[in-house]
């Protein structure tokens, strides 16, 4: 599974958001992701990939930002 698949699965399961709406420039807030859901999404990511998201990570605004942040963390984790 990659980052976008995880985000799509999460939004579908938790908020009933259709996958086709989960595109790069969609804003997370428009998809129903508030600060609490953001914590849940980060938790789901940590759980699935076994990666700890650092506390200083800035909250991403769009799906694309989120994917970029997650992909960056995965790359770093794989390199170390």
């Amino acid at each position: 599974m990659n980052s976008i698949a995880l985000i799509r699965e999460f939004l579908d399961e938790r908020l009933g958001v259709a996958s086709e709406k989960v595109v790069s420039d969609a804003l997370l807030v428009d998809l129903g992701v508030d600060s609490l859901m953001m914590l849940e999404l980060m938790f789901a990511f940590e759980d699935r990939f076994g990666i700890k998201i650092p506390n200083e990570l800035e909250n991403p605004n769009s799906v694309g930002d989120m994917v970029a942040a997650m992909d960056g963390l995965i790359t770093t984790a794989n390199a170390s």
């Binding site: 938790r14 009933g16 609490l36 849940e40 759980d47």
Partner: protein, 417 residues
């Protein structure tokens, strides 16, 4: 001192029978039990008990998936019941021009999000996980139900939860009533919800030796209040809600008034955690009557606490006989827990609804499984063993007597069209 009349303009619940409010009350009056055998797959030993569940309840359908996902089951049942009552009251879910800044919520729950915490423990201790979802705190907190109700209905006044064991929602309703009567609140959403099927909770109740036994065949008749062959209580899950409204406000908007709540009395036995005492119950009954400005002769129906425990039932009847004197012999009494079970923190709310509907529809629901098996220690009142129609009851009491010795009695007055 401001003293407003308090109208009941909305009633709602998640029915264990799966239907709507009217269907619920019809079945109660027909003497139909909602109690079934619950067999779980829990480890190390499955639960196998008579229980009242709401199997038809679909939280995603009732609340929408995003909202349902933010809640534990007790809050889901509470929110669904509150929506049901609110819609029935003819109020819009979204706030309009009228300020809702003094409209509030007073909710009862004995266990709150215990089930959510138990799921967390299972994850940690059975599945070997090291961490829990950040939502766990918000699913588990006891005030989750009232908080969600306030948010969904845009209510800016007090939002609080009451945890008083089996009297939780009776206390919540009583406190809501006082706020509307005093003029502090124009409208209060009140009631309660609970989910006692958490494995640790059900096992703990079993250990108290107050739960009635039963299998697939015998469970529907497992709860037998006031009967000589009673074996104990039957737990149940559920949610029930009432909308209490300043009567002038209700009349001004042309709302249907199902009845009035006119009194609330509370007391503590202050003697023992689990052994009830008539003296404490008598104080609550008398306080409720005095608060309502009614005499014992004005009361035409008692919805008893009546859990079907060995100790509790005779004490309640003794308290009623003491308060009602000669009138007790002709005082109609029933324990609807014999059909809908003991909903713990939602018990007072579902029984308040049964009491209001009994007055409104002029039909008193019965105690089932009670015929020629009355315990002589519970005699001396007019036990309703079948529904009674056409008695034109004027006022009713609903009793809730909790572990801890906390007693709460609500008084309702009929408003028939």
């Amino acid at each position: 001192m401001v003293r407003r009349r308090v109208a009941i303009t909305g009633l709602g619940l998640v029915s264990p029978y799966g239907g709507d409010l009217a269907d619920f009350f019809t079945r109660l009056c027909a003497g139909e039990s909602a109690i079934r055998h619950l067999l779980t797959d829990d480890q190390p030993r499955p639960l196998s008990i008579p229980f009242v569940a709401c199997p038809a309840f679909d939280a995603d359908a009732a609340l929408g998936k995003p909202l349902a996902a933010m809640m534990d089951r007790f809050a889901q049942l509470g929110m669904a019941a509150a929506f049901d009552a609110w819609d029935a009251a003819g109020l819009a879910r979204a706030a309009s021009d009228e300020s809702r800044d003094d409209w509030g919520v007073s909710w009862g729950t004995a266990l709150g999000g215990t089930l959510a915490y138990e799921k967390g423990y299972r994850e940690l201790w059975q599945r070997g996980r090291e961490r829990l979802s950040p939502l766990s705190v918000l699913l588990g907190m006891n005030n989750a139900a009232n908080a969600h109700i306030s948010i969904q209905l845009g209510l800016g006044g007090v939002s609080t939860s009451h945890t008083v064991a089996c009297a939780s929602s009776a206390v919540a309703i009583g406190e809501a009533f006082r706020r509307v009567r005093s003029g502090e609140a124009t409208i209060m959403v009140t009631g309660g919800s609970d989910v006692p099927q958490a494995y640790g909770v059900a096992r703990a109740w079993e250990a108290l030796r107050v739960m009635a036994p039963g299998d697939a065949e015998t469970s529907p008749a497992a709860c037998r209040p006031f009967a000589s062959d009673r074996r104990g209580l039957v737990l149940g899950e559920g949610g029930a809600a009432l909308v209490l409204e300043d009567r002038d406000h209700a009349l001004a908007r042309g709302a249907t008034i199902h009845g009035e709540i006119v009194g609330y009395g509370a007391s503590c036995d202050h003697s023992h955690l689990v052994r009830p005492e008539a003296a404490g119950q008598i104080r609550a009954l008398q306080a409720a009557l005095a608060d309502a400005g009614l005499a014992a002769d004005d009361i035409d129906y008692i919805n008893a606490h009546g859990t079907a425990t060995a100790e509790g039932d005779p004490v309640e009847i003794a308290a009623l006989k003491s308060v009602f004197g000669e009138r007790a012999k002709t005082l109609p009494v029933s324990a609807t827990k014999s059909m809908h079970g003991h909903l713990l923190g939602a018990a007072g709310a579902i029984e308040a609804i049964a009491s209001v509907l009994a007055l409104r529809d002029d039909i008193l629901p019965p105690t089932v499984n009670l015929a020629d098996n009355l315990d002589s220690a519970c005699s001396g009142v007019d036990h309703l063993t079948v529904a009674r129609q056409g008695a034109a009851p004027r006022a009713a009491l609903s009793n809730s007597f909790a572990f801890g010795g906390s007693n709460a009695v609500l008084v309702f007055r009929a408003v028939r069209q």
